[in-house]
């Protein structure tokens, strides 16, 4: 019989704060994601519109620049709520495409490879897991949506003066709240689909299908039933209505803002319910 010295000791150093443990998941996810050249290229492309928008703001406040080029400025160069609505619409589309690229790899590998018990058998709750995975996507979306949006507002405010900024702070709030809400919706849908669809490839297709089929079927319901309520399943229209309310802009949709927010809240609740079914520390094998 051999006798070995007991050299193992429990860690006795300082522990990281409990509230920040969920950030471990994004840290490792980004290490993996940023190895993809395609993703890096896509993120670079997402910066084109904000840079163009910044140039637009500059030109709008420097009409002498256009006059020097003999270009008639006219009234079209206005930086108002419509400008920010266009910005939100465009970057929201890019955020949707980013979700289709990144979303499938968030939860499905853990479910497929039985890694869920490995996470949840540690002092790590399901909520922290979901929060950690959501952070991966929301952080990326933030960098292509409300962060550049607020920077644009800052540039406009700086050029237009303090009075303009004071009177239009609601635009900044609208951009932040609208894009944040969109990132939450996208993240929840991506996570729910990624948890239920085992293959990453199929999950990517399912994310596309949820939005396209939802929009298409919503339009079809409206056309057949001669109603406007079909639009309630078109999440992109609902978000556009919500932005219309936040940015005080008539989106042209006949659904009220309250209905739109309610529809988005129900979609989020469904996603959370679906996630609760799959994010478990055990697996039932039939």
């Amino acid at each position: 019989m051999a006798v070995y010295k007991r050299t193992y000791k429990q860690y006795e150093g300082e522990l990281t704060p409990g509230w920040s443990r969920f950030l471990i998941l994004p840290r490792f996810s980004y290490a993996r994601l940023f190895q993809s050249k395609f993703l890096l290229m896509f993120l670079a492309i997402c910066c084109i519109y904000p840079i163009g928008a910044a140039a637009f703001i500059y030109i709008a406040h420097n009409l002498s620049f256009l006059q020097a080029l003999n270009v008639p400025a006219g009234n079209f160069l206005q930086v108002n709520e419509k400008f920010f609505v266009y910005y939100c619409n465009f970057q929201a589309t890019m955020a949707f495409l980013l979700t289709a690229i990144v979303g499938p790899s968030l939860v499905s590998p853990d479910v497929t490879n039985n890694a869920m018990p490995l996470y949840l058998s540690r002092p790590f709750t399901r909520t922290e897991y979901v929060l950690g995975r959501m952070t991966v996507l929301m952080y990326l979306i933030a960098w292509i949506s409300w962060i550049p949006g607020l920077i644009l507002f800052g540039i406009q405010g700086n050029m237009a003066g303090w009075d303009w900024t004071k009177d239009h702070l609601w635009i900044a709030w609208g951009v932040f709240a609208g894009m944040f809400a969109w990132s939450v919706i996208l993240a929840l849908i991506a996570l729910a689909i990624s948890a239920w669809v085992r293959w990453k490839i199929a999950a990517g297709g399912a994310i596309l299908a949820v939005f396209f089929v939802g929009a298409g079927f919503g339009a079809v319901i409206n056309n057949v039933m001669r109603t406007k309520n079909g639009s309630l399943i078109d999440l992109t229209q609902m978000m556009a209505t919500a932005w219309g309310q936040l940015l005080r802009y008539d989106s042209g949709n006949s659904i009220s803002a309250l209905q739109a927010w309610a529809s988005l809240a129900i979609a989020s609740a469904i996603c959370l319910w679906l996630l609760s079914k799959k994010v478990r520390a055990f697996e039932v094998v039939k």
Binding site: A202, G205, G216, A219, V220, N222
Partner: protein
């Protein structure tokens, strides 16, 4: 003698592959979403028919309790006040009013509802001024044909069948690679081309059965609210032709999209990317030059639809997608589609011959 024997063997092998795949496609839990996609418009049309039947009874009842002449109702114009409208056509059978505040000012919106027994009229007043007139006409076969054409071309062909075929056909090879079960087929004494044909036919049978059944049920659901004489008149006229055309277009859609996505599953590690490209290409079809338009499945399919859709209440872009199909003789359309399908399958067969098993890379 040898070739005859080979054909016999190949046909037996194709049948075996189809048998194996049917179990996985038709009866698998992971395929339930395709059934859902196919059933969605059926449920919608049934709900609509039930609504129309209920509405018809309601309007007939209201005609006796709240009579209003059709000419009087048609003479109402925007800008009139509530009193002017009531003076012309009487009290409405239904009325809703709500007030709201916008920018510290109080406003009201009132809705008056009338019927002439056949059509419904909805007058919306903003602060006592008639702002909007909406008419819900009694449904006729002509209306129904247009509505069906819109739903079929906008949703069913472009989205339901499209995504259904993406799911089923990309699964045939790429799904097997992800499941690490494709090697069982490659370890059987079967030519790769024969295997490809077997899998393609299996997918085609599954999608054709699911989606043509859906088309037939949609037509049944749509026609459910029609009276006997209307239905008989429709069937004696263009009815059977239109039904046959829709079923044929559905089957051809499965044929065309199936080959594209089978090839995508073989050629690409992530076939969703080419599927997204195909979706965008098909959506851009109205804007393409004539020669490029022909390199798409939807071009031929839309040209074979018996009724040109005229969508009401649809976004402008969607309307553009539906109205741009050029009329092409059916023979050319079917021939073109078959040529596109065979070309794509030939490309897929080349890739299947070169297929190797390296699951870790996939």
């Amino acid at each position: 003698m040898n070739k005859k024997m080979h054909w016999g063997l190949w046909w037996a092998q194709i049948r075996s592959v189809i048998r194996l795949e049917m179990r996985k496609t038709f009866f698998a839990k992971r395929g339930l979403w395709v059934y859902l996609l196919a059933l969605m418009p059926v449920v919608l049309f049934f709900a609509d028919s039930a609504n129309v039947l209920r509405d018809r009874d309601r309007r007939a009842e209201l005609e006796t309790t709240h009579p209003a002449k059709a000419e009087a109702l048609r003479s109402i114009e925007t800008g009139m006040t509530k009193d002017q409208v009531v003076a012309k056509v009487g009290e409405p059978y239904g009325q809703t009013t709500f007030t709201f505040t916008r920018r510290n000012e109080s406003h009201s919106r009132t809705v008056y509802r009338y019927t002439d027994g056949a059509n419904d009229y909805v007058f919306t007043f903003r602060d006592d001024e008639l702002a909007q007139i909406r008419t819900n006409e009694l449904r006729t076969i002509a209306n129904d044909s247009l509505i069906f054409a819109t739903v079929f071309q906008f949703f069913f062909l472009r989205l339901a069948i499209f995504f259904g075929c993406v799911g089923i056909f990309t699964n045939l090879f790429r799904g097997e690679l992800l499941d690490k079960s494709l090697h069982f087929y490659l370890l059987a004494p079967i030519r790769r081309e024969v295997l490809l044909v077997g899998k393609y036919l299996a997918g085609l049978i599954a999608t054709t059965v699911i989606f043509t059944t859906s088309t037939a049920l949609q037509i049944l659901a749509m026609g459910w609210h029609l009276t006997g004489p209307s239905m008989t008149e429709f069937l004696r006229g263009p009815g059977w032709g239109q039904i046959g055309a829709y079923l044929g277009v559905t089957a051809l859609a499965c044929l065309g999209y199936g080959s594209v996505f089978l090839a995508a599953g073989l050629l690409f590690r992530n076939p969703i990317i080419p599927a997204a490209v195909v979706l965008l290409w098909e959506s851009a079809n109205p804007f393409l030059p004539a020669a490029l338009k022909k390199i798409s499945v939807i071009f031929y399919l839309q040209s074979m639809c018996p009724v040109v859709a005229k969508p009401a209440d649809m976004p402008a872009l969607a309307a553009l997608l539906l109205s741009s199909a050029e009329a092409t003789p059916a023979v050319w359309a079917i021939g073109g589609l078959i040529v596109v399908t065979l070309a794509v399958l030939a490309l897929a067969a080349r890739q299947a011959r070169a297929l190797e098993i390296n699951y870790s890379a996939d």
